[in-house]
């Protein structure tokens, strides 16, 4: 399977008469995008703004971030099974508006997630302070059930990204990244002496505001499944979860999964990257046992020597993480876990909600409880009052001068458990 990420480096976004790219500037016809999104009868109003790196802009509460792309060669288009017809993702050429993110905002339920500061102290904690953000606020019609509202916002973000991505269709890229591997049998024959490595990616799969989707299928409904990394890098996996911002994996982060990219970079040199197992995180104990057993079985069947496991979320998903680890280590497969820590404001408490003696190689993305104070913004996109209801915020978080105090878990992607973030931990 061969996929080209053809990156068109975007240096600015501006509103214009036509949605197009010229000389590295993305022009967006605001009314055109609004009209496109308002074709969904559940959406009453759409507001669109731009937030650039360095501007004193605060975006709150954030739902998702999505990279605008267009498929220029190969089957299908963006987000197969969701926006486009179901086709095999992972092959062909994709033009990417590199440096741009569509960021959706809007209240769904009374408690929220996600802040992005484009400058200063807040900016250093989130990777989305470095992207040129097209901020899309969705106001639904009255009386929508939360799950219908969530779906409307999720679809609007994806639709906006796909719509804008089309502006890159005819543009020559500034750089091209190629992701290619043959069948497992071919790769094993090619690199017989290199350790065979699988990546197990866990996805929250628990219900309203806690779901991930694969080709449009809610991951609650699957057994762990073997995926070629190119499928996710080509938009087969999207986020449908809206709770803790720090360790939420946005659609943008799935589209650019750094574990996959790093494994690709080492493929054929230090290791043999065989593929990805997507594993749902269910709420039932039987479900957890079934998926963890099944995940370990897939890794054993493929003959993995080593496995990297990344988590999504905190709480009962910690149990899945450690159950997978235990099963793999017991099978003689060396296992590395990527997670973040919820170890209290002083960092001294137990980091995960569960433990296992087999978890001896753990990469931490940082402590979600770390306290930060963010200075007042000049411009607020969204609702500043939402800080008191963010995970990581509380009543009294918002101070009189407009600054606020919060835990890192209020900041989008601050401690991403797939490693798409700026933060890490140090042992003293």
């Amino acid at each position: 399977m061969k996929l080209e990420h053809r990156k068109i480096n975007i240096k600015d976004i501006q509103f214009g008469e036509k949605t197009a790219v010229a000389d590295g500037v993305l022009f967006v016809n605001k009314e055109e995008v609004i009209a496109e999104l308002k074709t969904n009868s559940k959406i009453k109003e759409v507001k669109i703004d731009i937030a650039r790196p360095g501007e004193k802009v605060r975006i709150i509460p954030v739902k998702d971030a999505i990279e605008p792309r267009v498929k220029i060669e190969g089957e299908g288009d963006q987000f197969p099974g969701v926006l486009a017809k179901v086709t095999q993702a992972g092959e062909g050429k994709v033009n990417i508006l590199n440096g741009v993110a569509v960021v959706t905002i809007g209240d769904i339920v009374g408690f929220q997630e996600g802040v992005i500061d484009m400058w200063g102290e807040g900016a250093k904690w989130t990777p989305f302070s470095k992207t040129l953000n097209l901020v899309v606020e969705i106001i639904p019609i009255d009386g929508l059930e939360p799950h219908v509202h969530e779906a409307a916002v999720r679809m609007a973000g994806l639709k906006a990204a796909a719509f804008i991505g089309k502006a890159g269709r005819e543009i020559e890229p500034d750089e091209i990244e190629v992701y290619e591997t043959g069948s497992m049998a071919e790769e094993i024959a090619k690199y017989p002496d290199l350790p065979k490595v699988l990546y197990v990616e866990m996805l929250i799969s628990q219900g309203l505001l806690h779901d991930g989707y694969i080709y449009g299928v809610n991951s609650q409904q699957i057994l762990p499944t073997l995926l070629h990394p190119n499928e996710e890098l080509d938009g087969a996996v999207i986020s449908g979860n809206c709770v803790a911002a720090c360790d939420k994996i946005t659609t943008y982060q799935h589209q650019n999964n750094p574990v996959m990219k790093d494994l690709y970079a080492k493929h054929g040199k230090e290791l043999n990257f065989l593929g990805v197992v997507l594993t749902p995180e269910l709420t039932t104990l039987d479900g957890k046992i079934r998926t963890c057993d099944y995940t370990a079985k897939l890794c054993k069947m493929v003959g993995a020597d080593g496995v990297i496991v990344s988590e999504e979320g905190y709480g009962n998903p910690d149990t899945d993480l450690l159950m997978i680890c235990k099963r793999l280590e017991d099978s003689g497969i060396k296992t590395v876990l990527i997670t973040d820590e919820c170890s209290g404001r002083d960092g001294m408490s137990q980091s995960l909600a569960d433990t296992a003696k087999e978890a001896i190689a753990v990469v931490s993305g940082g402590n979600v409880s770390h306290l930060v104070t963010l200075p007042p913004a000049d411009i607020i996109l969204g609702n500043i009052e939402a800080i008191s209801t963010l995970a990581g915020g509380w009543e009294g978080s918002l101070l009189e001068d407009g600054s606020f105090m919060c835990e890192l878990n209020a900041i989008i992607g601050a401690t991403s458990e797939i490693g798409y973030h700026n933060c890490t931990s140090k042992l003293y």
Partner: protein, 125 residues
């Protein structure tokens, strides 16, 4: 397969028959679940929230399997460590009662998903 929902969520009480309703906090729900597990009930859903945010929920529901007669050490360990983790969190935070209504909806929806999984499982027939 008989199961019991231990919950302090009024929406859950209203919609289901097999509910052991707790007039109290989420901590009290967890403590009741612990007592039941010690009596021989088994956990069907994990007694920790699905996310960090749900740890602050004033409404919480856990599904247990009706009394099995045998003490399950694995399930005892899960409920005991979950209560420990819950207490650790709530040392510095309070239940978010202001948004009780929304938490009730999310808890209900998460429960609905779990019951969907339980009821669709072939072993329940």
């Amino acid at each position: 397969m008989g199961y019991l929902i231990v919950s302090n969520n009024p929406m859950v009480k209203e919609k289901f028959d097999n509910v052991y309703f707790i007039e109290g906090t989420s901590r009290e729900v967890l403590e009741k679940v612990r007592d039941l597990v010690h009596e021989g009930f088994e956990l069907m859903t994990h007694p920790l929230g699905a996310s960090l945010r749900m740890m602050f929920s004033p409404c919480f529901s856990v599904v247990v399997k009706e009394k099995q007669g045998e003490f399950n050490y694995f399930h005892t360990e899960i409920i005991e460590s979950s209560i420990e983790k819950y207490n650790q969190h709530m040392e510095v935070r309070e239940e978010d009662v202001e948004n009780s209504k929304d938490y009730a909806v999310v808890d209900y929806k998460l429960l609905e998903s779990a019951l969907g999984e339980i009821n669709n499982n072939a072993m329940s027939f």
